[in-house]
């Protein structure tokens, strides 16, 4: 049996005027997994999260979170979710501890329970020493950590993280990733929005690429990379080498038509990476008498996928019998 869906949406839509908003959003997030909504600014990520977190009423479609309808059973949904919005939603003037205690009390805990939970979270997030300070004195990373802690006060089964690392330095970002991974390991279902391909790649098992208020593509990070196109062999020929002859030799190894040379003296060959590929290409060229300066294999990145998908609306996922299998792409990504 497949894991229960903690987030399920079908045809979800919200319009803010012609061309603004989101439409036809279908989502399925199994329990205990991390799914990422990946898209540029204004794509509609926040709008989707706000509808799922019962902050915004959809114009059309439906969504269920933790088994409850977001419109008809909003309060039941709110008992099971945590939300870290795009803005750090904390009271600047209050201390870190007071913020958490207040949110605990508002989550129907007694004062004592709320205090205990706050102390617990402050320890887990390494904020004990700053607990008594007003939040406005916190650094960006500390604020984000407290914000995340704040969304965990009620022990949510489903966690929404809207661009949780935007504006953070690399160290703080990695630390936050680690926390998110740990939460997912412990059974929390996470829906995370991000503009960073790397972040989606690092955290999510499944990515929905959002552009213009729609899901432009979805799949595992590997599948999306595969959609970015094949790997490329970049060959730099020695001065005076015969370009035409080199092209003829390489055509036999190419997985598709050779691209026009990006720079004079260079050749770009789409290939299916396999063991011994580079060696055999060099040997072929050597036998044909073409001198080579340098040769390198370039794997497709999620960045390529993103650019390809967001650039052309018609871009979709490759079918299973495509030249590059998703598994292979993923394995390469790991190895790289």
């Amino acid at each position: 049996m497949q894991a229960a869906l903690m987030i399920e949406a079908r045809g979800l839509a919200k319009s803010f005027g012609p061309g603004l908003g989101v439409s036809g959003i279908d989502l399925q997030v199994p329990a205990g997994t991390i799914v990422s909504l990946l898209g540029p600014n204004g794509a509609g990520k926040t709008t989707i999260v706000r509808m799922l977190a019962t902050l915004l009423r959809p114009d059309a479609g439906w969504a269920r979170v933790a088994g409850h309808d977001v419109v008809a059973q909003g309060r039941a949904v709110r008992r099971r979710i945590g939300l870290t919005g795009q803005l750090a939603s904390l009271d600047d003037c209050m201390t870190g501890r007071a913020n958490l205690v207040m949110l605990g009390q508002l989550s129907r805990m007694s004062r004592r329970q709320a205090r205990a939970r706050a102390a617990d979270l402050l320890t887990q997030f390494g904020l004990e020493s700053a607990a008594g300070r007003a939040v406005r004195t916190y650094s960006g990373g500390m604020r984000r950590r407290l914000d995340l802690a704040a969304s965990l006060v009620g022990g949510p089964a489903v966690l929404f993280l809207d661009e949780p690392t935007t504006g953070l330095d690399p160290d703080s970002r990695r630390a936050l990733w680690e926390v998110v991974r740990r939460l997912a390991r412990e059974g929390t279902t996470v829906l995370l929005t991000t503009q960073y391909l790397e972040e989606a790649d690092q955290l999510a098992g499944h990515i929905c690429v959002i552009t213009g208020g729609r899901v432009a593509a979805e799949g595992t990070p590997g599948q999306l990379k595969a959609a970015a196109g094949p790997a490329k062999l970049i060959i730099s020929l020695a001065p005076g080498a015969d370009l035409a002859r080199a092209a003829a030799v390489l055509a036999r190894r190419a997985a598709g038509p050779l691209a026009a040379a990006p720079r004079p003296g260079y050749l770009e060959v789409p290939v299916v990476p396999c063991a011994g590929l580079v060696t055999s290409v060099i040997r072929d060229l050597d036998e044909a008498g073409v001198a080579v300066n340098d040769i390198s294999l370039q794997l497709p990145t999620l960045e390529d996928a993103f650019r390809g998908l967001t650039g052309s609306a018609a871009a979709g996922l490759p079918s299973g019998d495509d030249a590059v299998s998703p598994e292979a792409a993923e394995a390469r990504a790991r190895a790289a």
Binding site: M1, A3, A4, M6, F16, A31, G32, T33, R50, T54, L55, R57, A66, G67, R75, R78, R79, R80, I81, G82, L83, G85, Q86, L87, S89, L90, D91, D92, C93, M94, A98, M102, L103, G104, Q105, L106, S107, R108, M109, Q113, A116, R117, D120, Q124, A150, S151, L152, G154, G155, P156, A157, V179, R182, L183, A184, R185, E186, G187, T188, T189
Partner: protein, 309 residues
């Protein structure tokens, strides 16, 4: 959730069964919470709403204490107005009859100060909305009305401080209460009732405003004309008839007159033949009741609409 829960969130396996079990209350914390919820449903949500309101009112008060600018704004303003009208304008303002202008003035400044509460409410709510804090509150299983009610309650507390400052300044300048404690308490009660009603008006402005700055501007644009077309600073006896009618029905005039009557201060309005001036105490209570009846639902409606955007 007690401190006994180790790890982040809950150390449960990611199996569907575990997740389902969590919902069923497998964890002590979750069980406590769902029991509490059942009690809430049985006893009605009113109790929880009251507690949420108290928690948020406390938060707003903490915020006021840690940001003295806001308190200073509310307390310095009455002092400045009292001094300004006593020493700068007071000399060129004469009352019909023989009352002392300073004795007359304080009742008016009470009324104007009560209006000021609304501005604090509007600005505070606008800040909370733009900062994203309201979104967090709305993602919690708490009472949604408590966000507005908690804020207006805290603002009322601040208004009591402002009223005390106004009275203290007045006493220093020779203003006196000439009646007993019952009348004094009645005057304070009427003033605070009006402040509370005005505060909900401020909540409406806060919901409509794009930013804290625009909430402040709109607040000023309402409060200033309202104060200046009242009998707070001058007697309306010599105004042109249509303006006098406006001034006599103005809730600020009505409250100022009610305070003057209840505190035994000079009250030239007693000579004015208009219903609100003749029955100022009743009229002020009615004004506040009408404002509350209109503004509370309006603010709640605007809140629901605003957060849907």
């Amino acid at each position: 959730m007690s401190g006994g829960t180790a790890g982040l969130g809950h150390p449960l396996a990611a199996s569907p069964a575990a997740v389902a079990a969590r919902g069923a209350g497998a964890l002590a914390g979750a069980r406590r919470r769902s029991q509490a919820t059942a009690v809430a449903d049985a006893a009605g949500t009113a109790g929880w709403a009251a507690r949420d309101m108290a928690v948020l009112a406390k938060r707003t008060l903490c915020r006021m204490i840690t940001t003295p600018e806001q308190v200073l704004n509310v307390t310095a303003q009455p002092i400045i107005i009292v001094l300004l009208f006593s020493y700068v304008f007071g000399g060129s303002i004469t009352l019909p009859g023989h009352g002392s202008y300073r004795e007359y003035l304080i009742g008016g400044i009470f009324a104007v100060t009560m209006c000021g509460t609304a501005q604090g409410t509007g600005i505070g709510l606008a800040i909370d909305i733009s900062g994203g804090l309201i979104d967090r509150f709305r993602s919690l299983p708490m009472s949604r009305a408590a966000v507005l009610a908690g804020r207006t309650l805290a603002d009322l507390a601040l208004t009591i401080v402002a009223a005390a400052v106004t009275a203290g300044t007045g006493l220093l300048l020779g203003w006196r209460i000439h009646t007993g404690p019952a009348d004094t308490i009645a005057a304070l009660g009427l003033a605070l009732l009006f402040a509370y009603a005005a505060s909900w008006g401020g909540a409406c402005v806060g919901m409509l405003a794009r930013s804290a700055e625009s909430a402040q501007t709109v607040g000023l644009l309402v409060i200033l004309p309202l104060s200046l077309t009242s009998n707070a600073f001058i007697s309306t006896a010599r105004l042109t008839p249509w303006l006098r009618t406006v001034a006599d029905w103005n809730p600020v005039s009505v409250l100022a007159t009610a305070c003057r009557q209840l505190l035994g201060n000079p009250d030239p309005s007693a000579a004015i033949r208009s219903w609100p001036m003749q029955h100022a105490v009743l009229a002020s209570a009615l004004w506040s009741a009408v404002l509350l009846a209109a503004l509370v639902p309006l603010a709640v409606f605007l809140y629901a609409r605003r957060v849907q955007r």
